[in-house]
Amino acid sequence: MQEEIIRYENIGMYFDSKKIISDFSIRILRGNKVLLRGKSGTGKSTLFKMLLGFKEPSEGLLYYKEKPLNSQVAWEIRKEVSYVSQDTDLGQGPVKDLLDEVFSYRPNREKKSFERLNTLMKELELEKDILEKNFETLSGGEKQRIGILISLMLGRDIFLLDETTSALDIGLKKKVADLFLKSEDWTVFIISHDKEWERDGVELVEFGKEDLDQSRV
């Protein structure tokens, strides 16, 4: 019997008294790869933010490893789950310094490895000198790859990927999908419009089929 990692149970969300998410349920077990697909602006990103404790659902229940989500569980999730947001925003300053800051956080202190960094940079086609550049001057695609790089360096095995490959070229999209999908015991929950994620072993879930309000959260 596989361990249950994430469960959404009849989740609903109102925004300005309009319902943007309604009755969403899903169960994700260890090792599952789930691709959530749907129109943009339907609240898919909000589902991830709920799990991280950044947004509270208006209705329904959320479970992480069978524990109902509360603040304590949310802090635990943030140490065990690797989240890549739609537009990675690390802050101002050289990429190198920002990476150092991330690896100065208590749960990540032992995780920094130059070898791993070098390998991943090569795989993601990032030039060495990017570490010296100011993060804010990077292109959208470069920022996305830095987000991916960090998520893979943290040594975690549960991933929330929100439109992680949208700004990459087709070759890189495929490569990134390979990186995340190759390990059998990794649990990966993906939001994406990219075809590269649709492959055998990835469960496709259509989201928000009924035409709900288009307002963004």
């Binding site: 991280l52 950044f54 943030r78 140490k79 989240y83 925003d89 690390l90 956080y105 208590r106």
Partner: protein, 275 residues
């Protein structure tokens, strides 16, 4: 040698000087007559009242009363600081007033004891004016520091949340914002210190020289007071930022939206003024 007295007639002569800005105002239609008259009369009435009160307080020189007066000033300073940063009172007032009191009172007592070597630490003549100078300066530093900190968090909320998702504790994720806020809070005081004496003589020094003190004694007071001002500004802004985060963030580490005043209102008012 003491300062010469200013008679009522002399005061009236001084007010006559206002004819100059008012004439400019009339000639180029600045439309600030009301504002000028309003500000000047407020200042006159406030200072007159303070003068009367202080006369009594100095005469009585009761330490409980002196401390109460100081606490009153602290309350007004905290209230003004929060109002000026466009944040709501409820969640912030208590931590800010506690920070102001702890920072200013400790610096003030240290100053009175070790720098001025006063017999009575709570002597009205020293406690109230020096306390006022520390508070006034700490106030502007706090307005800049707290304001910058919370505005930055609001502007870059996704960045902050992303850092939380990477496993940062609230404090770890807030550190870049704390640094930035404190740097801004210290900057005006440090600039003042660096230019002291170059452009203008600081108010306290001017007062002492007018009162007959030697310039050398006056600068020694000025140097000490500037250091005390910097220390109390640094302490109170650090305390305020750190202690307010205990009440302005929820248990998930997310900033409570209700601490911000509605942005719309202020901008609408600005637009109205433009018309």
């Amino acid at each position: 040698m003491a300062s010469p007295d200013i008679s009522i007639t002399s005061l009236i002569l001084c007010f006559l000087l206002l004819a100059v800005p008012l004439a400019i105002n009339y000639r180029i239609k600045l439309q600030i007559t009301e504002k000028v008259l309003n500000s000047v009369s407020r200042m006159t009435i406030q200072l007159f009242l303070v003068g009367v009160f202080l006369t009594y307080i100095f005469d009585l020189n009761n330490w409980i009363l002196n401390l109460a007066w100081l606490l009153g000033m602290t309350t007004v300073a905290s209230y003004t600081a929060i109002r000026n940063v466009e944040l709501k009172m409820e969640k912030l007032f208590l931590p800010v007033i506690l920070s102001f009191t702890a920072a200013n009172l400790s610096v003030l007592l240290y100053f009175n004891k070790f720098v001025l070597d006063l017999g009575g630490l709570l002597e009205a003549r020293y406690l109230i004016p020096i306390g006022g100078m520390l508070l006034g300066n700490a106030l502007s530093g706090n307005v800049v520091g707290i304001g910058e900190f919370y505005e930055d968090i609001r502007r870059n909320e996704n960045r902050y949340l992303y850092n939380l998702s990477l496993g940062a504790s609230r404090y770890e994720a807030l550190l870049p914002y704390i640094r930035k806020g404190l740097r801004s809070a210290f900057r005006p005081t440090l600039a003042n210190i660096a230019t002291a004496g170059l452009v203008f003589l600081p108010g306290m020094m001017t007062g002492q020289i007018l009162g007959g003190a030697s310039p050398l004694l006056a600068i020694k007071y000025q140097i000490s007071i500037m250091i005390a001002i910097f220390v109390s500004t640094a302490m109170s802004s650090t305390f305020s930022i750190l202690t307010t985060t205990r009440t302005t963030f929820d248990e998930f580490g997310v900033v409570k939206k209700e601490i911000y005043k509605e942005k719309g209102k202020k901008e609408k008012r600005k637009e109205k003024n433009k018309e």
